[in-house]
Symmetry: C2
Subunit: 184 residues, 2 copies
């Protein structure tokens, strides 16, 4: 067996060992730099699904790494899962409308968010995260429960809850959930 054949054999063994260690076909250890990264149509956003339901088969938690360029923001939205943010870099503003108004979100409270802070979104509260820092990226790690997430999106804070548009699958899951094709 020549050197290159031997090398190929070793690499095959390595892949086999990694595959062996998988649950649901996903490698146990993954390099975040090598994961898919895209704006998914949201200006100034970089989104990476670190651990996903649709992508990796997680059933109970999902983890995203998102970077917002100065001025970039999420849509105004709500969802019925728990959501925790950990701010890794930068600063920004959380706009949060408590669900006390039964008709529409109404004027949100503003929360300054700083580097090395954590914040959470109460279940079903309408919110928006905005990088209001003019010169620095805002990087956050986002944890949600019970994926895949169903999101209701508002055009503005006075839009009735009943008019909010369901976005499912969410932007990044849309790229992964493929319609089942008729094999005939």
């Amino acid at each position: 067996m020549g050197f290159y054949h031997y090398l190929t054999f070793l690499i095959a063994l390595l892949f086999f060992a990694i595959a062996e260690a998988n649950s649901n076909g996903v490698a146990i250890v993954r390099n975040i730099n090598e994961l898919a990264q895209d704006s998914y149509g949201i200006p100034g956003l970089s989104h990476i699904t670190v651990a996903g339901s649709v992508l990796h088969g997680f059933k109970e938690v999902e983890v995203w790494l998102e970077t917002f360029a100065p001025g970039a923001a999420t849509p105004i939205h709500r969802h019925s899962c728990e959501e925790v943010f950990v701010v890794l870099k930068g600063t920004g503003t959380l706009y949060l409308a408590s669900n006390s108004n039964p008709k529409y979100p109404g004027s949100p409270q503003e929360f300054p968010i700083l580097s090395n802070s954590t914040f959470h979104i109460p279940v079903n509260d309408v919110h928006q995260v905005w990088n209001t820092n003019e010169s620095e990226d805002l990087q956050v790690l986002i944890i949600i429960s019970r994926p895949p997430i169903k999101v209701f999106i508002y055009d503005d804070w006075l839009m009735p809850h009943t008019a909010a548009k369901l976005k499912f699958p969410i932007f990044w899951d849309e790229y992964q959930i493929q319609p089942v094709k008729d094999e005939l």
Copy 2:
């Protein structure tokens, strides 16, 4: 009203505004540097519950920030929740015994873990995270589902599954869960 009275009044207003915005009594935005940090009896560990079930009332996810000094490790353990790690700093080794052996964990596989990587623990797999780097701290963000977590701890990799010791509440929750006192 003097300046200091005015300042006190303003600070009180600020606290009121923060308290108003709470869900389950926990401020929406919190500075991670100001959260409780302890080793909870594990040598070389620094644990911070960023978002907790017992501490903050989360029902579906829990987030920890942990730093392992060189040589520090978790116990050998398993749990029935999903668990995702995001490596913020340092390197180390994950020891993981797949649950293919019905009697005891057996010799674990070794996975090198690098900075900016993510890894996950398949539900119920016995595992141990070890900072095997001799000179650098290992800092990870840990996400678990369905808190509060119930952990089964092993003395070694050959201990029968049935002999593993239930640790509930887990070390840090033990400091928070107080026995209900008889009020009479």
